[in-house]
Symmetry: D3
Subunit: 123 residues, 6 copies
């Protein structure tokens, strides 16, 4: 099993039940026309980083969300809130994760993140 | 019990065994000469934010550390690595927390954080 | 008078004349469904921070706007430009506040902020 | 030739063939109503900074794009991708410039930038 | 009077009484060996930006300090705290400026800034 | 040749003449005690990212330096200024790279970077 396939295995744990692992070991991405390796690098990162021991998938999702709240990465935050739900986090835990960032980031970052959380939950 | 006292109770869970809760409900801080309310606000934040339900103290420590890695707040990162150890995280878990930030922050932030983790552990 | 009520008093100075202080000491917020304490924390911050001595409300509004320009917090910048106008700043002073950030932030942050200032003024 | 005129000369190298240098030495800008000097400062920066020796215009465009990717300045990134194309960079070189930022910034910043590159190229 | 000389006039208002305007219209800087125009650009920025109407020098100093607190620019923060004192701000006002950044930046940025304020005041 | 070995080949182009490729395919790093995979990931990134076509090694070094200036990553900036020199950039080109960041980042980031450039050159 190569890096990409190992990555897909770990990646699937953060996707909802309807998600199907690509059979030919390839995964299409809207960015293929400008950066055809980009999707592969993301998937490989799941194998190399998310697949490591000592922390479970819920804890890793919380860490990623805290980092995205802090850097104000809104599109990715919406994506990773969904992956966090798929990994087993409740919406209360996701709200607490964002709230826990408040004393270390201030109101603007946290407000932006809570708006995104609300949008994802209401979808 | 007022906000400060409630905060001290939660704060004590992140301090080592030698730490003693101030008896007179006051806590000296090096910054008292320029901002005498600053320490109080920190302690109150422990009661208001860390003391909330849905996430345990290890999860909250991981979230804070991920945020500090992301913003490159080195002094505070050293402090919160120690508090994470006091809250029960192992040094392997702390290393994984920082490593999990790699795909979302890149090498510089993570390298700086690992250097600080190494210094704290070696102390 | 508790923290929230004290905060409401200070907060009202940054709101336009049509704003009415909530009578039941509660204030609805779109984020109540995900983080029901969030609005309360903001209001309390007005009492704890904005309500302090040594700087007047115009100076505090300038400081907040400079910080929001620097962190690129666009939604909050629009809000605080309006609050600055309510606090008595002229649109020329608001433009100068953003322009004064230019040598310390560069063109992108300042251009984004001027676009927002223009939108708020034209509304 | 004053600073503004010198700036216009350098600026023209980053504009497409249809762009015409303003004849009266003035250049209108949507931000004139709030900050009438803002456009002049940008043009002067082309004379003072872009017009310097040791690096050519393609290299300067790559540097600016790398900085804008890093700070997540999306509107300005779209503008400078177009200027980079006008300065002679290929779309492959622009994609590589953004990809080279990946190990130092992580996936979110780079994904946002690739989305913008794709939009500019497809226009 | 050229840009540099106009800049020196405005710059002198932020320097202490012992500071003497360079007689030959030139100003030495430690960075001259790598970037001989750098000091000139800073001085010119004082004429172009600080010298504008609608805000006084204390207000401009507060805005700059708020921006430097937000971006965590420690060396420049120490410099501009001194210039703020020279411009007539009291140490209490400087502390309040930093404290006013707390709700919008969180504890780490503000703590770092207060440590620097304390160092400058104690010097 | 695996990823690490391919990475070492590309990495060697950014190292000075005295640098020797590790014979056993392993490379010691001060961070091995906390994150033994960290050095391998860096080296692999050289093979995966720096080793790509369309941009030469000088251009890639300029892009990385521009990104590090922008994020204020001082330790890594010193390292990559040295690697830029090894890749064939002159000290004048390195100064221009940092200066080109000025209009997009402002004085603090650029001043910090020029101080580091000066230190590296004087070593």
């Amino acid at each position: 099993m190569n890096r990409f396939e190992k990555g897909l295995d770990v990646f699937s744990e953060y996707m909802d039940d309807g998600w199907e692992k690509p059979k030919n070991g390839q995964m299409e991405d809207p960015l293929d026309s400008v950066a055809p390796d980009f999707r592969r690098w993301i998937i490989e990162a799941y194998g190399e980083i998310y697949g490591r021991p000592h922390l479970d998938k819920k804890e890793r999702a919380l860490i990623v969300i805290a980092s995205l709240v802090t850097q104000g990465a809104h599109t990715q935050l919406a994506t990773h809130i969904k992956r966090g739900l798929n990994a087993g986090l409740t919406k209360e835990q996701l709200a607490e994760c964002i709230i826990q960032c408040l004393p270390y980031n201030g109101f603007p970052r946290v407000q932006q993140a809570l708006v995104i959380l609300k949008q994802v939950i209401e979808e």
